[in-house]
Symmetry: C2
Subunit: 147 residues, 2 copies
DNA sequence: GTAAACCCTACTTATGCTGTCAGGATTAAA
DNA sequence: TTTAATCCTGACAGCATAAGTAGGGTTTAC
């Protein structure tokens, strides 16, 4: 069970798409520039997210990516699992049982860890995160205009 | 942020030491056999746990390892952090901030993930886990004697 | 003295992350 | 119709880390 840069980049990118929800597609290049993510790498992640059904792609000039459905219905868990694979740990838990077949005192530890992870990630939806991002952007715009 | 076999092996090993609490040291070899862990690998983990102050070592014949303090005072979190290093994620969170200096909508996601992880792991102490293990062992002894 | 056990360091092998690169396919706009 | 923007795909490389192996050194019970 691991969280890598893929999750971080993917979440940031999809927050940007959530902010631009109803504004048409956003290009990989724009997101990469805005978030300081290597463009070619981000392109791969978005391709994965498209295959997983989280985003749609529009090819050609003025194309880009957009969320495949309402931001409220996409959670951080959806994104992480799409990019990292199922969030069942590397270690023995209820899914990936070790040799002792249930008679292992350590099993509930790992089971509860992954459950907690899923719970927390599931609580964040792209709509709220985008809302938060818009506030930050507004504050940033004010602070720069004051200089 | 990752959970690897080190954590799993370490937890299992220390459960064994908790079961043997007050019974003198247990050798790497015995633990490795009981838990089916590569002995040389386990030895490294126990050496780390000794340096981290979780276990004490007795050298020489009839030597082995024992918990350095009461099993009730050692949590799964202690073990995981001793073996994996601090549980702050690979991704940007409140500790390892990314470029946007607080103005990042994704930050609370990762911060809450690591907090949840720490909470859950901190809830499990070796005394309870050992108790559970003793029950399992007893049940296993009964089921085999019935055959 | 010998065997059991920890101690320490270095090495190996495999995997996966984090990109990079090159070219092709598609489409909007000039 | 041409051009440029953009996604699509697959290959590849460099590096870090996980997971384990190997081997010698030191300490201690018997």
């Amino acid at each position: 069970m691991r969280l890598t840069a893929k999750s971080e980049y993917g979440l940031l990118a999809l927050i940007d798409l959530a902010v631009a929800w109803n504004d048409g597609p956003v290009s990989t290049r724009d997101i990469a520039k805005n978030r300081d993510i290597p463009p070619a790498f981000l392109e791969q992640l978005l391709a994965t997210l498209r295959r997983e059904g989280l985003v749609t792609a529009v090819r050609g000039a003025r194309g880009g990516f957009a969320l495949a459905r309402d931001p409220r219905s996409i959670s951080a868990l959806d994104i992480v699992e799409a990019l990292e694979g199922p969030l069942a740990p590397t270690v023995c838990d209820a899914q990936t049982v070790c040799g002792r077949e249930g008679a292992c005192a350590a099993e509930p530890v790992w089971t509860r860890v992954s459950a907690a992870l899923r719970d927390v990630l599931g609580e964040f939806d792209l709509a709220s995160l985008a809302e938060r991002q818009v506030l930050f952007d507004a504050a940033f715009a004010v602070s720069t205009s004051e200089e």
